[in-house]
């Protein structure tokens, strides 16, 4: 504008000085945001006060009075315990769900680009059907079509005498502690896993340095198996396998999950995987064609081409949008409320139903989801940074 020294030294009026105008616009913008926040806050607190609804958090220590299936706590436990229980149950959906949906997503995404006509069309059908359906509907379908028609508890299905399948809960064989040394064994197993990982890394480095075969899977799994079995024997077999058995109205032993849990897990994993598949497909297409042609020229097999050349580059592109899908997955678990799986949203709503104040509880609920999302973002971003190509 007219601030160059070459022009006449006439003072620019303040209201036409770009620097001042820019600063001014920012201050006004900030002021408007602050005002909106203030008005909303004022509305909330004022209305709550007028209606005589308390704004304190004292209720957190009062008894929650919520019914939760498989809960280790009674209905008289304090509100905080119930919120933690809800967070744990949401976590129980997130933990197996995220790896599963990633795996299915990658398989279907690669499948859509397959030269095999049947595989490609089936993958396309899967993606188009699930991607264009509301997740709530998918959950209802899973509940009504997959879970409810399962055998009743009076007449359970027990395939191989190892599993117990009813529409109330599904059970699989699981470890059970029988001896006093069980916890020692679990620590040894954890330690062995860490060492096995370090061994795999060491073998990789040896391979990179000297070119000799790394055999890292063999080395690490072999080490892990030997240490685990040895420790199990030395500690006096403190851990056994518990096989589930139907016992009247319940199932004893094994590891079991409620029907509603599996309905939500299956529905949301399949739903989110369809989105991941599209991201994977797009990312693979974004890898320059020359890369796979070069791999071809090196006489790599189709699988090697995918595993060592295309996918590593495609996943770098795919990770940021996939994080979004993980976050969506975790947030969508709140839809479990529709079929009554007690994740954190349902429990918070039940607490509200029991007369505890909604504003504070919803605030806590938002905080819980925020922490979930931030944790996932941070973890995946750390992985992303390690995988990122170093710019040269």
């Amino acid at each position: 504008m007219t601030t160059e020294p070459a022009t006449t030294p006439a003072r620019v009026p303040l209201w036409r000085d770009t620097r001042i105008l820019r600063a001014f616009i920012q201050i006004v913008g900030l002021g408007v945001v602050a005002l909106i926040v203030y008005v909303l806050w004022f509305n909330l607190t004022n209305n709550l006060r007028r209606q005589g609804i308390s704004t304190s958090f004292d209720f957190l220590r009062r008894p929650g009075g919520v019914n939760v299936a498989d809960a280790p706590i009674s209905a008289g436990a304090p509100v905080t315990r119930f919120i933690w229980l809800g967070i744990k149950n949401t976590f129980a959906l997130a933990l197996p769900g995220i790896p599963l949906l990633t795996l299915i997503g990658i398989l279907v995404g690669v499948g859509r680009l397959s030269t095999n006509w049947v595989v490609a069309k089936l993958s396309a059908l899967y993606v188009e059907v699930l991607r264009n359906t509301p997740p709530l509907l998918v959950i209802f379908v899973a509940f009504y079509v997959l879970i409810l028609p399962l055998p009743t508890v009076a007449d359970p299905a027990t395939p191989l005498n190892l599993f117990v399948i009813t529409n109330r809960r599904l059970s699989v064989p699981w470890f059970e502690s029988v001896g006093a040394n069980a916890s020692t064994l679990w620590w040894v197993v954890l330690g062995a896993a860490v060492v096995a990982y370090l061994i795999a890394r060491w073998r990789t480095r040896v391979n990179e340095r000297t070119g000799e075969p790394h055999h890292r899977v063999l080395w690490s799994i072999g080490f892990f198996a030997v240490v685990t079995v040895a420790a199990w024997l030395i500690l006096g077999r403190p851990v056994g396998i518990s096989v589930p058995k139907p016992a009247g109205r319940i199932v004893e032993g094994g590891l079991s999950g409620l029907g509603a849990y599996f309905a939500v897990l299956i529905a949301l994993v399949l739903y989110t995987a369809s989105h991941v598949a599209e991201i994977v497909r797009g990312s693979i297409l974004a890898v320059p064609r020359g890369q796979s042609e070069a791999a071809n020229a090196l006489a790599l097999s189709g699988f090697q081409r995918l595993r060592f050349v295309v996918l590593p580059q495609a996943m770098r592109i795919a990770i940021p949008p996939i994080i979004n899908q993980y976050l969506n997955y975790v947030k969508n678990t709140s839809l479990a409320i529709a079929i009554g799986f007690s994740e954190v949203t349902l429990i918070v709503f039940q607490l509200i139903g029991n007369g505890y104040p909604a504003p504070q509880l919803v605030l806590l609920l938002m905080g819980a989801y925020l922490i979930f999302s931030l944790t996932i973002s941070i973890l995946i971003n750390l992985i992303n940074r390690r995988l990122q190509l170093v710019g040269r």
């Binding site: 509305n43 209606q51 009075g65 019914n67 939760v68 209905a75 319940i250």
Partner: protein
């Protein structure tokens, strides 16, 4: 100069902010920003709860709920749409039921028109938020009166319309005869209800292990129950009777279900309004009482007009008929509730007295087939007792 600009922008911002609040306010009040219309984002836990059909009203608005309702020309009534007998939608898409009839009674008392109601179907969890935010004027949705709800939910409970109690329904072939037989049983229950608390209290105090299965709505719950996911279904006995009467023949029909003898809670169901507007609360209260008084005085929808010449002073006061005193002056009794004289007669004529409402929706001739029990007049050994109309 720029100070003026700042002032101008600040004013603009304030007007904008005021408009965003005023937009949800009653159109009659100006957008002065001082009368916030909603309780802010915090009280609406889910996007499913904020579907306003009419302008929202809070008691602190000018003139109170009554004025706002009269402006609107209809009562916003929060109801249930899935409990046979109490609140449900018919095949024609009309709302019907015991609770619905009290919505209609309120509309008749205010406007003389049973149609002057906006029904707002609500889930158990949405109902108090809807009441607090002013989305509905009155909640008549088989809601149990408890101290916490009165005290912390910003609700004021009014005259009980139905004295209920919680029970347990099981399948006839399950062999369960009492709660004590239900060890390790899975129990279906609706979330966000006092039923849930009573269930926990009953089983925990007896030391009976059980698995609760919580559902959001009765339809999903019924599917899960029919598929055998639950051994028992617990709810207010009246609701269980309603479900049982409607149980589809494909799943065994009503005979395949048994409601256990035991009643393990008190469930006084009645209308609730938002705290802070006693005039509106009194109107709702007295509409309920009027139906009870109608039955007590022997006035029903068929004979209400035959009382025009009655000598009974109480009936004349109740029906808003002219009363002649010893000096020959005539007057019409007006208790000052804010309703037109004769409203009680209109309610009885259009909707009926308590006994008629009960018999029409819940009584022995309906699929529910409930006895009056506690819901009989006090003169017949029940709990219904209306304060005198004078």
């Amino acid at each position: 100069m720029q100070r003026r600009l700042i002032a101008l922008l600040a004013v603009l911002a304030m007007v904008m902010a005021a408009c965003t609040t005023a937009a949800e306010d009653t159109p009659t009040t100006g957008g002065d920003g001082d009368t916030p219309a909603t309780s802010g984002d915090g009280t609406t836990p889910d996007d499913g709860t904020t579907d306003t059909t009419g302008p929202a009203v809070l008691p602190q608005d000018e003139g109170g709920v009554l004025a706002a309702v009269q402006d609107r020309g209809a009562v916003n009534c929060g109801v249930n749409d899935a409990v046979p007998g109490f609140g449900f939608s018919t095949a024609e898409g009309e709302f019907a039921g015991f609770d619905i009839d009290f919505c209609k009674a309120l509309a008749v008392a205010l406007f003389g028109d049973v149609e002057a109601v906006n029904y707002q179907p609500l889930t158990a969890q949405q109902r108090f938020t809807a009441l607090q935010s002013g989305e509905i004027d009155v909640l008549i949705r088989n809601t149990t009166w408890t101290a916490t709800r009165d005290g912390s939910e910003g609700a004021t409970f009014l005259h009980t319309t139905f004295y209920d109690g919680q029970g347990m329904m099981v399948t006839a072939d399950s062999g369960i005869e009492s709660i004590e037989d239900m060890e390790n049983a899975s129990v279906c229950v609706l979330s966000g209800t006092t039923t849930e608390l009573n269930l926990a209290t009953r089983f925990d105090s007896a030391g009976i292990p059980y698995t609760p299965q919580t559902f959001e709505d009765n339809e999903t719950l019924q599917s899960a129950f029919a598929a055998g996911q639950c051994d028992g279904w617990t709810s207010d006995k009246s609701q269980l009777a309603g479900v049982r009467s409607n149980y589809p023949d494909s799943q065994g029909g009503p005979e395949s279900l048994v409601i256990l003898e035991e009643t393990f809670s008190k469930e006084p169901l009645g209308p609730a309004v938002s705290d802070g507007d006693s005039q509106w609360a009194q109107i709702v209260d007295w509409v309920v009482i009027a139906t009870i008084l109608g039955e007590e005085l022997g006035i029903d929808s068929t004979n209400v007009d035959s009382f025009a010449d009655t000598e009974d002073a109480e009936i004349r006061r109740f029906l808003g008929l002219e009363i002649t005193d010893e000096e020959g002056n005539t007057s019409i009794f007006d208790p000052g509730l804010g309703l037109e004289p004769g409203w009680a007669g209109d309610v009885i004529r259009e909707v009926g007295n308590y006994g008629e409402i009960f018999d029409r929706n819940l009584g022995p001739d309906t699929p529910l087939g409930l006895d009056r029990g506690l819901n009989a007049l006090w003169t017949d050994g029940g709990l219904l007792y209306g304060p005198p109309y004078r």
